[in-house]
Amino acid sequence: MSKWEVVMGLEVHAELSTKTKIFCGCSTVFGGKPNTNVCPICTGMPGTLPVLNRAVLDYALKLGVTLGCNINQNCKFDRKNYFYPDLPKAYQVSQLYAPICQGGGLEIEVGESGEKKFINIHQIHMEEDAGKLVHESNFTQIDYNRGCVPLLEIVSKPDFRSGDEVIAYLEKLRETLMYLDVCDCKMQEGSLRADVNLSVRKLGGELGTRTEMKNLNSFKAIARAIVYESERQIDLLESGGEVKQETRRWDDERGESYAMRSKANAQDYRYFPDPDLLPISITDEELELIRKSLPELAHQKRERYMKDYGMSKIVACTITSHKNLSDLFEITTEHSEQGGEVANLISGEFMRLLKSSNTLPEKIEPEILGRKFAELVKLVVDSKINRGAYKEVVGKVFESPHEIEPMAYIEEKGLLMITDTGAVEEAVKSILAKNQSAVDDYRAGKQKAFGFLMGQTMKKLGGTASPDVIKSTLTDVLKG
């Protein structure tokens, strides 16, 4: 095996989180009933014309600038012509001759060692997504809801040599897309899709024939598919066979890929500039505005968190591992002004809750959770509730973020700490009265007896008074 080298390039399709489609005003919301987010334009009815959604251009520029690409300030759209039922106009509006971004790239850290490597971007272009085919046993149905949803296709150079590199790149790219608010990166919903081009060669030898793998719906599937395909190609070559240039579909359940039947029509896409769309011209000033408006990215947040809140690298990495988590951290901190406490909450108890309930960070609602968590953080820091109550209510809010109101819940359950020292004194007195021998022991100099009395008082108060208050009250009364 070691004499073989795997060479891979990635084509990543990111569905943009714009409100509307690329060329019409239909909503891009996911999960609608079939053919409900459609209009004559995105179903290719005769006479309709496209008009570009300005936000698509801005999103593409944000990503391009972030990845250090050369921005093509005079770019245009081309038509890619082919017939397929998911493509209502029988051409896809894409960019071939003058894509918006070329060059640039991403630095990744690979595996445990964190070895750094730069992955080069070949180009990034804007295009429209296709509709969805829904197969029945003897016919196929077409749903055009997804048709015309804006995509960025991010094409890397063939710089990858291992599955780990691919995963590290995808994680970094996902993080970037999410922090730029360009794509929600939900792989199960198909808003982030990656096709892997893979070939193998003898170390230092000439590039081999490559295959393209599709239908990779998770990072895990990608890693497995890469192992499978590189082994398949190596076995083939070692047994004297040849790799065929083809597109292969990954079947994650069976853990193998198979060649897709080539489409009946010849693949000559006859790209040409779309005459229905005007070229795009981006001024230096517009580009500068984009550059200035870029949000803080994950790695920048990590550094800031470590500096401003004294977070450890591990905690900072955990909190920035998903934009929703760092959003939650920032919202909670903003409302509580307790960065340190919030960091502990998110990286500790909150991560535990996510794990135990098998919840993905993308499913949480930072805005709602953040406000409620901030209330709780303030209460615990001010000793108005104890740690146990804090954890309990955090759990409840996590379970039902919309229903649970922290303060109402705390009051209902009587979880507020007793701040009235009179009540504590009363409790202390009643304990002392019942435990005269311990009082005597204490007065005889046995420190252990203080601990016993302290414990008894806490038990009586059911944990609703702070140990500090009990301790000082007890000391005072015993002195008294």
Partner: protein, 95 residues
Amino acid sequence: MKFNHELVSYLEDLSCLALSEDEKATLQSDLEKILNHIQIIDKLDTEGVIPRSHPFDNVNAFREDVVVSSFDRELILKNAPEKNDEMFIVPKTVE
């Protein structure tokens, strides 16, 4: 330029047509004549000339990212040759 049968079949594929042998023969001869007429374009000296896709040099026609209500599904499916309540129907595609 010669238009052979193979090239006609290739264009038939690209154009997604199913032509009879007669039609192919007619088209082969027609296309050859047409091409002979238009290939003079190749003689034009276009060194350094920028290809023009639009009559004018206008740029940047944009739309704001604001949702416009979609059409009723019934209307979108109205003219479909085959459909059910929700979707267009075509013979099974093979992947």
